[in-house]
Symmetry: C2
Subunit: 88 residues, 2 copies
């Protein structure tokens, strides 16, 4: 079965865009993945069946409020992961 | 970045197991994907960074209450999709 959570790409995009401002101690891939997972667990999923509604939903979704919510959750997740990196 | 929402596999497993009892009019792949997407949007995501904690989280998660919640959301999604299939 083919479905995608559009929030995955949205959170990755915002993370890449704001990575430098987040001042995260460890920037290894494991910590990045952990921050992404913690962030996605705090946000409502937006699944679409593949290739249907993807473009429309994504365009409409990236309004300012959404970006602010995503950025807030990324910063929160970054603090959680930085405090207790799983690769210690 | 590599993360997975464990709920995707869990919902697919429960859907496969109970598919016959759900009495869904159309069983095409598009309707199955739509039911999966609607169901996942109604359930809290459980993202894990790849290959870390996957087995532990999954084993612990599939308790009876979880299965009942998943099955209830699948049935609800099946009604929504059956009432308005996207391939009409």
């Amino acid at each position: 079965m083919k479905v995608t959570n559009l929030m995955e790409q949205i959170v990755e995009d915002v993370m890449e865009e704001h990575w430098k401002n987040l001042k995260i101690e460890c920037t290894c891939q494991l910590c990045k993945n952990d921050i992404l997972a913690v962030t996605l667990n705090a946000l409502s999923p937006r699944y679409v069946a593949h290739d249907k509604g993807r473009v429309i939903v994504k365009a409409r979704m990236m309004d300012e409020q959404m970006q602010a919510d995503v950025l807030r959750e990324i910063a929160r997740a970054a603090n959680i992961v930085s405090a207790k990196p799983s690769h210690e």
